[in-house]
Symmetry: C2
Subunit: 337 residues, 2 copies
């Protein structure tokens, strides 16, 4: 049974939208209301050897990343990180200095995105794992994955492929480029960009954590639409093409299925898309581009990439392209419910 | 380095009370304010072989327990469980049916205490673990561990020793009593009792999850007081004394240091204590009793148990008595920050 089937089966156990639950399971974060305010709520678990390797990441890197990936979920609702709690599974052999380094990394990321850690639970365990739950404030009711409208333009903020290219170098036995590896170790959460896209009337928003193909596929499925991407506009991170060529990897797979980009992808009304991209780029100091458009869902592939490869190359079906972190597989290992 | 020292060192990384953080780290749950309302926030992690064994608990039991222990934290603030998110670490060999059974157990517990699960993250992992974060509504600002006043009476709702006695039977190679084992498998969160104690002006509240000695010690430390318990009034769960005698265990250790009682312990003004105990017992259908009183902190033990054992027995210092689940050790394995 595939993961997708499992998620479908878990749906009935989870709350959908409700009086005070504006967004239930199945988005980057849930949204609840209290005292007339909307609050989003996301959890991510990082497990050693699945999401990080201690030969590639320091403990401070791991702490940073655990906070960053949750803040990215908040960003993908258009929210502002607020408070968080930590569940730390700590093997007996992990010394106190390492735990302190982990917290130091979390603190640095918290300062970056204005998050405050208000508590947690530390338990003995056989494997090192970190579960972070973050609450965020929303100005509106949150931008979901499910509101994309036919004709919207797809705005991507951030770059693609850096983390996956670094891991491809590692897999090929090469020394990874520091600049690329940094994307794996210290991802950024594009919190300001999320608010900019929300302010530009984005109809849908998602963070690209599993690869552009997979995450755009999630957005399309949730919105009941299809999408076309223009390969000429994909913002490939500097150094990725050379690194992948040298490592003997597949550039398309790294760029569109690599995962860990933590870019933001918004479906923005056509007339506001260019302005949204410019404003988001300015807010974050990272590239942003209009990379495609939202189409009517039809009989064809949900996510089609045009203009990739030499002139005259056929369009590519990106549906289902995803990356399983350290394992070269089309199966996604992580599932958000 | 002991766990207590670690907690002290982690303090600076965590947020204390703040404009919109009424209770920061170090209590059963944090309390934050939004839109003029107070919300409490707790996380607990359950790890296979540390907090549960699959030969003793079904997957549904594990799911139930993960929800119940968090609801108990909410109860210990005087709150009402509201929404939760789940971080599930799933080894490849755990079949889908088991995941569904886990969720079925969570659903049953959610229905019991009015919690709605609004999302989560499921990741590949080497070990089965479940991290649940629960938000609760509060009528006031939450009853902390730190407000106990000298002269308050200690009200205990629930019973002591059942789960630990069952595990002592297992450790002794005996078949555990079903009734006792149920306390380990399917703990109850005394949510109604927490609200009753809050309504009876409890100055401090904690759930007894690490053993009465340890948790009363936490309450005393946070409040800057000491406590005296009367052994004659400790509500030992039915069957515990016989089971422990037959298993060759130490009854005091099981009753006051056993853990997993998920009783509620409140420091209530003397004139309201008996009424609070009666009302809490009625609300839950479990025993409740006034078991001791709050004293000025002095040079002596923080938690002193009188009246245990034959007439004329000396008082017993319970400070630091705790139980490490499956490991017979005085060291606590779990630390809430």
């Amino acid at each position: 049974m595939g993961e997708f089937d499992l998620l479908e089966q878990l749906g009935p156990f989870l709350s959908g939208a409700d009086a005070d639950v504006l967004v239930g399971h199945g988005d980057d974060a849930a949204v609840v209301t209290v005292g007339g305010e909307s609050v989003c709520l996301a959890v991510d678990v990082l497990v050693e050897e699945v999401h990080f390797r201690r030969d590639l990441s320091s403990m401070a890197d791991v702490g940073w990343k655990a906070v960053a990936v949750n803040c990215s979920d908040v960003a993908a609702m258009g929210g502002r990180p607020w408070v968080g709690v930590i569940g730390l599974s700590r093997p007996a052999e992990v010394p106190t200095e390492d735990v302190l380094a982990l917290y130091e990394g979390m603190r640095a990321a918290c300062e970056e995105w204005g998050l405050r850690l208000v508590g947690g639970d530390t338990v003995d365990a056989g494997a090192l794992a970190l579960s972070v739950t973050v609450l965020g404030h929303l100005d509106g009711d949150g931008v979901t994955r499910s509101g994309a409208q036919v004709g919207d333009r797809l705005v991507l903020v951030g770059t693609l492929g850096a983390a996956a290219a670094a891991l491809a170098q590692v897999d090929a036995g090469r020394t990874p480029d520091e600049g690329l590896l940094r994307a794996h170790r210290r991802p950024r959460a594009l919190v300001a960009a999320g608010q900019v896209l929300a302010a530009h009337a984005a109809n849908a928003l998602i963070d690209v954590s599993d690869g552009l193909g997979a995450d755009l596929g999630h957005l399309c499925a949730a919105s009941g639409v299809a999408a076309r991407l223009d390969g000429a506009f994909l913002p490939i991170a500097p150094g990725v093409a050379d690194a992948v060529a040298a490592a003997g990897g597949d550039l398309l797979r790294i760029v569109c299925g690599g995962g860990e980009d933590f870019a933001l992808l918004g479906a923005v009304p056509a007339e506001r898309a260019e302005a949204a991209a410019r404003a988001a780029a300015a807010a974050e100091g990272v590239p942003a581009a209009v990379i495609g458009e939202v189409l009517v869902a039809g009989a064809g592939p949900t996510v089609l990439l045009e203009g990739w490869g030499p002139p005259g190359s056929p369009p590519i079906d990106l549906t289902g392209l995803g990356y399983d972190h350290y394992h070269d597989s089309d199966q996604r290992s992580d599932e958000s419910t």
